[in-house]
Amino acid sequence: MIANTIELEQAQERFMGYLARERVRILVCAGTGCIANGSLAVYEELSRLMRERGDLVDIELLQEDEKRAGSAVVHTGCRGFCAAGPLVHIEPAGVLYTHVRAEDAAEILEATLRGDVVRRLVYRDPVNGEPYTRPEASPFYRKQKRQVLDHCGTIDPEHIEEYIAGGGYQALAKAITTMTPEQVVQEVLASNLRGRGGAGFPTGKKWEFARVQKSDVKYVVCNGDEGDPGAFMNRSLLEGDPHRVLEGMIIAGYAIGASEGVFYIRAEYPLAVRRIRLAIAQAEQMGLLGDDILGTGFRFHVQVKEGAGAFVCGEETALLASAEGERGMPRPKPPFPAVHGLYSQPTVINNVETLGNVAAIIANGAAWFRGLGTEKSAGTKTFALTGKVMNTGLVEVPMGCTLREMIFDIGGGIPNGKKFKAVQIGGPSGGCLPEQLLDAPLDYDSLQAMGAMVGSGGLVVIDEDNCIVEVARFFMDFIQGESCGKCVACREGTKQMLALLTKIVQGKATMEDLDLLEEVALVVRDASLCGLGKTAANPVLSTMRYFRDEYIAHVRDRRCPAGVCQAFRRYTINADKCKGCTRCAKACPAGAITGAVKQVHVIDQDKCAHCGACMDTCRFDAVEEI
């Protein structure tokens, strides 16, 4: 139990002392990506071997026995380098191993205790094959600025002691013992911190609206409903450093005069839910959360609510409805949640990453934060870099970093020597940007001007093998399914846009359909109630703006330049290779293939359904695509 600021500092020193008695610290990444690749087995094996040597310690052991020293094996949150998982990091040597299997554990252990390195497991740059013993020198990490993700991969997220040892909860102590709520709001306002969930509204302004409301009950809600397909920054932060987000929330609560906090986290993230629940319980036990925080009389309680699988609940008013147990349907604003929010009380809703920035701003000051990033977009931003790129994973860069640096320097470019086509940014609400815009800076305002948005920060790289119209159709299919159905523009508009896009990829559209698609898109953008509908047309509008040629190729030339759309595929049978085995004729669902046994078969192009079943079934590679 930590009763005041002095005790917090003492606790920090004590916990640092425990960690200092760890001679070797082996950090095994236990983010969802590495777990899927088998990192838990690696962790178990390393722990087992270390225990056999009688050298294994953990924070509880170090706490119980003041003389004990040894080596620790801990699991951490996501280090970001999901493509190369499972990752094992050795401290203090600073070595990073990639693609580690349980069988490698003994070798790693031996080498580490000898002060040596296992060369074959060291990370190699996928582009030039060069080995990097120290990860921070590698192209993937070099241009990053891991500020919010600082602890992800370096501390054990399931132990509050490690967070406190790193200076955790000091910002909370500073805020509630040396600053008035108004000063806290002013500091955040002066830092230029903008909402990290998409729209980029100044966080300080939001807090100020809620602060000035007169009410006995106010709420802080953390929006952890990261529904954008292709985004996992918030999941990684919640899993890797839950206390940082929790500390941010408690400071927000103090600033606006709230006594209740709610984490709304999507149910697809079970590990994040578990870790944040654990963090809350630990903070309560330490007296950093509860009825009398650090002896100041400030009272704050936090609960967790799980989403139930609805994309629209990322929209703040829909999220509130869902948190109250209703259907997640948005309502018109105003009144804004700051005035009329959860259970009709003043409420601040902040994204996970926004809250993740708060503690550092209070600790280091607004000027420090403004020194990161660009003038209008201060600080850093986390991105999920995925799709057709060498290094997929979680990335954090200062705002204003260019897309080219992101994709080609950090991401290592496109695999298999393919050509870059577009980058889809900001999820289904964002847009597809082409090659010529790669040098534009990544910040709120430039992206908006290009018809995209930061969104929550998903970056999906698309190469020449992907059809841009099909990608637009994919997003529309998603949005149409997720439209809550409350307002006509979104409910009917997305349906019509999907029908038109389907018509295009099926080769049945006319040039008039393209104009109609654009017209419907603009109406949906202008007439929808909430953010989901207002941005639903972005994938269509941005692809039509930058890749109109590809749309025209589908409509006028009846051709899919990427060779993806089934309707435009043409198959033929190579007479030299065909043995007349009749397999393809039997497999053809359209009855388009004719030919007698041991005779060359022929495809009737008028009957052909372009399904490719003949090609899949032929044993002699006689079916060819033209």
Binding site: T32, A231, G307, A310, F311, G325, G328, T386, G387, T392
Partner: protein, 215 residues
């Protein structure tokens, strides 16, 4: 409202009152007997199973303090228990919370997580988020569909072993394309790799069946 439905609601109301008074466990079942409603409770089917189901559900609702705002959390726990939302559970829940069944069904059908149909022993979810999609996740889905002979919108195999679904995004995009079976994430899938995994599960099930028959 139909007379039969009215009667059923009245029964459920009495059950709810009785259960709320009683301690959970055997006492609750006794309380139910006191109200003499265990017969014809659910669609006229007399059985102890239905009663114990309601006792379980009552326990879940009680844990959430009979709060309307906890509706989603209650539904999640019921689904965790039964792997779907049984109709009688929803009717009972509405009665216990004092809200209309329409509201409960409205919420249950709004969210993608909830299912009103029973699911297979293995819930296979193929991610079709953007990152997985651009890496050809649809081919994985199609291959499994074919393998499990799921046609015309059917999602569960007739032996009740497999349910196949797509999911918008599991946030594991760094290792796309992914497939999740129950809680296990399988990274970097190809149609062939996915079929091998399904095959293994089918084989395991077949072996268990034979072992049972041998006994």
């Amino acid at each position: 409202m139909h007379a039969g439905a009215l009667r059923q609601r009245e029964l459920l109301r009495r059950v709810s009152r009785a259960l709320r008074r009683a301690e959970p466990g055997p006492a609750a079942t006794l309380a139910l007997e006191g109200t003499q409603v265990e017969e014809k409770l659910v669609n006229g089917k007399p059985n102890g199973e239905a009663v114990s189901k309601l006792v379980d559900i009552e326990r879940i609702i009680a844990r959430h303090g009979y709060k309307r705002s906890e509706l989603i959390a209650i539904l999640q726990e019921i689904q965790e228990e039964y792997h779907y939302l049984p109709e009688e559970a929803l009717n009972y829940l509405a009665t216990a919370l004092g809200i209309s069944p329409t509201t409960v069904f409205g919420v249950a059908t709004f969210y993608g997580q909830f299912s009103l149909d029973p699911k297979g022993k293995y819930l296979v979810r193929v991610c079709n988020g953007t990152a997985c999609h651009v890496k050809n996740s649809e081919k994985i889905y199609d291959a499994i569909c074919k393998k499990l002979r799921l046609r015309e919108g059917k999602v569960t195999t007739s032996d009740g072993l497999f349910t196949l679904e797509t999911v918008a995004c599991l946030g594991a995009c760094g290792i796309a394309p992914v497939m999740v079976i129950n809680e296990v994430v399988h990274p970097q899938m190809t149609p062939e790799a996915a079929l091998t995994i399904i095959d293994t599960l089918m084989q395991r099930e077949a072996e268990t069946m034979t072992a049972l028959e041998d006994r």
